[in-house]
Subunit: 194 residues, 2 copies
Amino acid sequence: MLQFWFDFASTYSYVAAMRVERECAQAGVEVEYKPFLLGPIFTDLLGIKDSPFNVQPVRGRYMWRDLERLCAKHALPWRRPTVFPRNSVLPARAALASGELIGPLTRAIFAAHFAEDQEISNPDVVSRLVDSVGGDGRRVLELAQTPGIKAQLRANTDEAKRLGIFGAPDFVIGEELFFGQDRLEDAIAWAQRT
Amino acid sequence: MLQFWFDFASTYSYVAAMRVERECAQAGVEVEYKPFLLGPIFTDLLGIKDSPFNVQPVRGRYMWRDLERLCAKHALPWRRPTVFPRNSVLPARAALASGELIGPLTRAIFAAHFAEDQEISNPDVVSRLVDSVGGDGRRVLELAQTPGIKAQLRANTDEAKRLGIFGAPDFVIGEELFFGQDRLEDAIAWAQRT
């Protein structure tokens, strides 16, 4: 079992999200999806209310170029979003509310965000994406606004902090933390050994 | 031609330094060694006078664990240094003063630092390391203190800033920047295509 920790606002999480299910399946490793919010973690650890890639423009410039290259390498469509970072609270709650559809919905939301520049904080967009993967968009959106789902997202974010997560994406096996989409192979190998 | 940009104080640069020559040779790509100083870059970009891994302890804790795992993966000896970060000015100057020995000397300095916990800012240590790779330690140390070598290290650091470098190690092909030891394969593939 490999936990995939991600934030829908995170560019590198997009690359990981499009790879994780297939590469884990090939390795016989099960994936558990763990959406969380980076915002409160960046505020706690760095005292910032924005993406570190905006706060540090030199690092940001590299990230945008790196994403282009990574998407080309992994044959993923890519369009730089016109808004960054987008608010990821609603899509994260919708993912948690989507039950067994969380894998396909996660990929659909990431693709909408980073391949089609869609506003993933818009309820109509999220509802349509749920529909597109065979779910009931209206019902998932209703569920996403319930106290139980809201608490689940807060609990995921608290658990991310406890695990020592400071960015996204991450792969966690037991208490072993792997940070960055480029650690997917190492994390899978770890999961296979344990 | 692939430029390898590194700082002797940088843990991830150790892993890269021990891999770069062999993996580039296997791919038929020539390596140019570019020691530089991260300190002035961190001060410029982040306003800090210490390693970001000390300033951000959550990130630091992950890095130390990650290094253990990476060294195990690449079959590299590893001992966590008792001082971090160590001052890397003298070893960087010595590397620049070592001429054709820069490859073996770079590996010897990194191994002394991260496999044997030696104080690489100590002239006696550096002199001995130069001797150990077949050079003249006393002569390299003398040369390392000349204005020409000092200027060369400053010029490398300025060039690193110009290239958009914000951490180490890095691989540069032309103006194309790859950050992080885990980008070595991608950088080699880029060098082969261009």
